[in-house]
Amino acid sequence: MKTFIGIDLGSTTTKAVLLDENAQILGRGITNSRSNYETATRVAKLEAMVDTRLTLCRRQLKTDVPELQENLDEFLTRLELGFRCEQFVEQLNDLESTCIDQVTGERFAGQETAVTDVLASVFDTLRGEAPAMFAPGAQRMSDFFRDIAGSRYLTVAEQTAKQAGVSYELLLNVYDKSIIEVENRPPSEDMSGKFLRSLEQLVRNAPEFGIEAQTVEASVKGALDIELEEAYLVGTGYGRVTLPFSKEHIRSEILCHGLGAHMMYPGTRTVLDIGGQDTKGIQVDPGGIVENFQMNDRCAAGCGRYLGYIADEMKMGLHELGPMAMKATRTVRINSTCTVFAGAELRDRLALGEKREDILAGLHRAIVLRAMSIISRSGGIRDQFTFTGGVAKNEAAVRELKKLVKENYGEVTININPESIYTGALGAATFAHRALNEGSIAR
């Protein structure tokens, strides 16, 4: 099967989208950009491949195992969890052997065996915890290996070291030296093996699906065996120039956002994207071709980073800002959208006795006002209007945007896709699809 890949190398996260020959989405993958776009690209692509295999399994199982239909979603979720658990254990093994390799030199003199024993014990514990961590319904703080493994390693290592009378510092040292290396080493290529082991567990331990093992295994194996050919790849986003992509494999994120928004909502004529470091107002024609765009060249006031700064100032999580602002009973007027001044504005209003939620409502309104100014420069809002980027996930920003759109442009359909973070990658993948299928480079 031919696949078409779009990679969006953002400043915070790297996203990948895979399309099939009919330009249908096969899979999506995301990872942190970790200042290493080459690795980020590899990992995001691999994640999208995992998602792709699940899509293919879904398609195959739909045809082959009709009795599974009602429980298909649950079945695939469990299959994925099993896969994630396998992958997690594989990375733990990698981390363990990498840590052991670090136990050398003067610092460890005479303690090599003790430290190695503690490491073995710590990793045994972590491996033991894995199945529960990936059990259905279990909450994980993050999907990134570094976050999950890191927090547990530090806790378990501290206890184990204490019991064994080994310095915790030494265990921290080997971990710090190893984690980046392991994180930047994508899991092994044996994806099918991990899926099949997960399936084996699932069939053995979950009689509730009431399925015939052989049929399901044959079906899933069929999906896993489909050969995926990387027919064309297009990269976009700020990191695109740092990658060894040739010119015809690079598209600007403005064009990719325009086309991606069009693919999600074909009626889109205006796109607003508020990302971490810039705000784009894009006008597209009925075919998704960019007609005009405006961005801010001289100042980045009012971008997503502004909210991050506010969150730090208020000692809150970024995702907590929106919900708190939603509780506001009034909107405090904030004029400055300068990220650095925001802190001063905030403290000033607090000193005047304003409530935090009311101030936050004002800050959200301020960034949306700034975005409205950029959109109006690009030609205003036309029906339909699609809002993308990280800030589109913030309900308070969305509420202000809806108000201001109505005040200024009347009734307009506003589209916000839960997968809007993949808009740029989807546009890039569509360019890749067109590049090959229209016989010329995607224009």
Binding site: N22, A23, Y238, R251, S252, E253, I254, L255, L259, H262, M263, P266, D278, D285, P286, G287, G288, I289, V290, E291, N292, F293, Q294, M295, N296, D297, R298, R377, G379, T430, H433, R434, N437, E438, S440, R443
Partner: protein, 441 residues
């Protein structure tokens, strides 16, 4: 074509390719600064004036040297000196939002007022405010008058609000020339006005102007043998500066014309700092001045992509010649009046739109690019409206980038490059006419 090495502080030496006309101009400019800085010892009087509405032919009639503070600011921008001058001016109390030509000039004065040859500029004997369409010019000379306590002339140029020059406007300008400008020039210089001398100067101007227009219009060819924005800055140098009305200018434009003709005959593209431009992929019209502190970096963003500017409004700020206007020895004062009234920034927004639409069509351009200058309201006000109107009337895509004249702090290379790349890809999309983007959906 000769390759010379430019010396640049803190940068590895880079070889900049230059055509012979560029080298000739370099020599001319060096001569100009040597004449200016030695004016006092030679007993020559000095007149400071502006590029728009520059009355060089008249100034020459009084044996005065012409000093142009805007050109000095540009020189300082190109030579990476303007940044420190702008900061110096801010230290003296000039706000961040003031025109950076002004601040570069004020800062330069505070730092010894040195010309590019390292010698101090002479104090002006006369400030000739030749163009009032830019209010900042007036304030600029107010500051200089305070500093130098010298004679000042203000020539009031009515704005072409209705899109045309009326008899009244022309007569009003001629009256000012007769009653205000010429008598003061006589008084300061001690030279009696000779209208025949003016006619001779104007005759020489018209000759050079013919060649300039020929050169600019060669860009109608595909591929264009010139770049009418970055290259255009060189081409307008002598005629916008201190050389209009001189034999030097005639020589320069003859050389230039022959050189461009040779490029045209041989199917060669424009000269760039890295040699001849490769394949011409995009033809653009630009509106607004360039950025001078990152001039080469900005230019590179164009020629690396195969983009050539075929027409620009900026190369018309010191006079619009391509629609037929010429200095006319038979109507000396009237034609000077018409010249002043007709400069690009004195034209109404509809006139500017007409001009840009005409350029996009006549020069078969792919679209319009606006470089909006932070500290120049004369240019920037109304540019978004201009952009939309040109888009509407030509059906060609436009783009908008922001930077500044000579303040290096307002040139964000990564962001501008990103916009430019996006714009070129947008032009590609438009050109292939693919309304098929969504077909795969």
């Amino acid at each position: 074509m000769t390759v010379i090495t430019t010396s640049r502080a803190k940068r590895p030496a880079q070889e900049a390719a230059k055509d012979d006309s560029m080298l000739k101009q370099k020599t001319m400019m060096a001569g100009h600064y040597d004449r200016l800085t030695s004016a006092r010892e030679r007993g020559q009087k000095v007149c400071s004036t502006f590029v728009p509405g520059n009355l060089n032919e008249l100034i020459l009639c009084f044996d005065m040297a012409n000093n142009l503070p805007e050109v000095n600011a540009i020189q300082n921008g190109l030579r990476k000196k303007s940044g420190q001058y702008v900061m110096e001016a801010e230290k003296l109390g000039h706000s961040e939002d003031v025109c950076t030509y002004v601040k570069s000039d004020i800062g330069m004065m505070a730092k010894g007022n040195l010309a590019p040859n390292g010698k101090p500029f002479p104090d002006p004997d006369l400030l000739l405010l030749s163009y009032t369409g830019c209010f900042t010019f007036m304030k600029w000379f107010e500051l200089l008058r305070e500093q130098y306590k010298c004679e000042t002339i203000m020539l009031h140029t009515p704005y072409e609000g209705d899109g045309k020059i009326t008899d009244n406007m022309r007569e009003y300008m001629v009256k000012q020339l007769k009653e205000e400008v010429i008598p003061k020039l006589e008084k300061v210089s001690g030279v009696k006005f000779d209208i025949d001398r003016l006619r001779e100067n104007l005759r020489r101007s018209a000759k050079a102007e013919d060649d300039l227009v020929y050169v600019l219009q060669t860009a109608k060819n595909k591929p264009s043998p010139i770049d009418a924005y970055f290259g255009g800055i060189y081409y307008i140098g002598p005629i916008f500066g201190a050389f209009r009305g001189t034999d030097d200018a005639i020589d320069y434009y003859q050389t230039l014309r022959a050189e461009v003709q040779d490029r045209l005959d041989n199917g060669r593209g424009p000269v760039t700092p890295e040699g001849d431009m490769g394949e011409e992929k995009y033809r653009l019209v630009t509106e607004g001045p360039p950025n001078y502190t990152s001039f080469r970096d900005f230019w590179k963003m164009f020629y690396d992509e195969g983009a050539v500017v075929v027409a620009s409004s900026y190369t018309k700020v010191g006079g619009v010649y391509d629609f037929g206007f010429r200095h006319d020895p038979d109507r000396p004062l009237e034609s000077l009046a018409e010249y002043c009234l007709g400069v690009y920034t004195n034209r109404s927004l509809p006139q500017r739109v007409d001009m840009l639409v005409n350029y996009v069509n006549e020069y078969q351009a792919d679209g319009l690019l606006i470089n909006s200058i932070k500290s120049c309201n004369s240019f920037s006000a109304g540019q978004l409206l201009i952009m939309r109107e040109v888009e509407k009337r030509t059906g060609k895509p436009a783009a908008f980038v922001e930077s500044d004249l000579v303040d290096p702090r307002y040139f964000s290379a990564a962001n501008i490059k990103n916009r430019m790349e996006s714009y070129f890809q947008m032009v590609d999309q438009k050109r292939s006419g693919s309304s098929t983007a969504g077909e795969a959906a």
